[in-house]
Symmetry: C2
Subunit: 190 residues, 2 copies
Amino acid sequence: MTTNPVVKIYIALVHPPVLSKKAEVICSAVTNLDIHDIAGAGKTYGVGEYFIVTTLPDQKVLVDKIIKHWTDGRGGDVNPDRREALRLVSMVDSIEDAVAKIQATVKEKVIVVATTAREDHVDVSFKELKAEMKNGGTYLLLFGTAWGLSDEVLVNSDRVLMPIQTTSGYNHLSVRSAVSIVLDRLIAQD
Amino acid sequence: MTTNPVVKIYIALVHPPVLSKKAEVICSAVTNLDIHDIAGAGKTYGVGEYFIVTTLPDQKVLVDKIIKHWTDGRGGDVNPDRREALRLVSMVDSIEDAVAKIQATVKEKVIVVATTAREDHVDVSFKELKAEMKNGGTYLLLFGTAWGLSDEVLVNSDRVLMPIQTTSGYNHLSVRSAVSIVLDRLIAQD
């Protein structure tokens, strides 16, 4: 008898490179509630680490201050559950740095999965990816802020996950909602 | 041949009566991003109306200002998708008022479903509720802010939906995440 293969899932919230409303490649600002909501969802679904990808020095100082308030400071004393969630969070300059950081720990290939609200570049459904994850492996799920991940990120990822489709014809979920739904679809028990 | 029965789903974000950290029944403050994220998720999943339940006069003025900025004001001109989502939102003083408002439109019983992160009072699973909804009907899903809906709300609802459970043993989802996941589980196609 063999033991069940273990899947390790990491997430990254990407600020550069993402698209602006005019489809230019930009670096967006970090939203405070993105840190908290996605850390809470990540901890609830057992993800290994939650990377915030940003290059702007001012943003780094701010994000670092917020994280430390909850992990080392008074925030965590008042709300230990939030401390636990925020301990998942770290900052990196690029998606490549997140991959390198994971690889240094797990010593196996990291399969990078981009998410998108558009149809182009999509090559895997939720059902297919969930089935694939049953075989174990290490995955990094990428989520884009602003108007979504740049084309370059989609092209360079190992997989591009289908959008969260509904029958309403309207699809404008916040990235906080999208992360929650994607984690639930891929990780929750049937 | 008969046509498929239609299910109509409404949501309410409850500010009173909810629990404080110390389990006292309180009226919590409205969070700006709760308006936007939940309206976006509601519109994406085709809900009929999104009620914000609050009694505090100051909060009402503020929420009304935010809604109008997007539905009638400049916000909607700049971002028509958000205008469409925010048109789902209305304010009511109580859960009973939301039920009465829905009933005036649909002329049938409104089945009130409370959600909770705790185990007590739970009487329906996601699978059961989804199967039930296939028969049509009108449902109002209640979501609690702060530390969740008061016991009185749970006891007086027609159904109490099981918590979003995962295997991590940690369950601290924001209400924005919880609404997104619940709508996806109940409404998205398999």
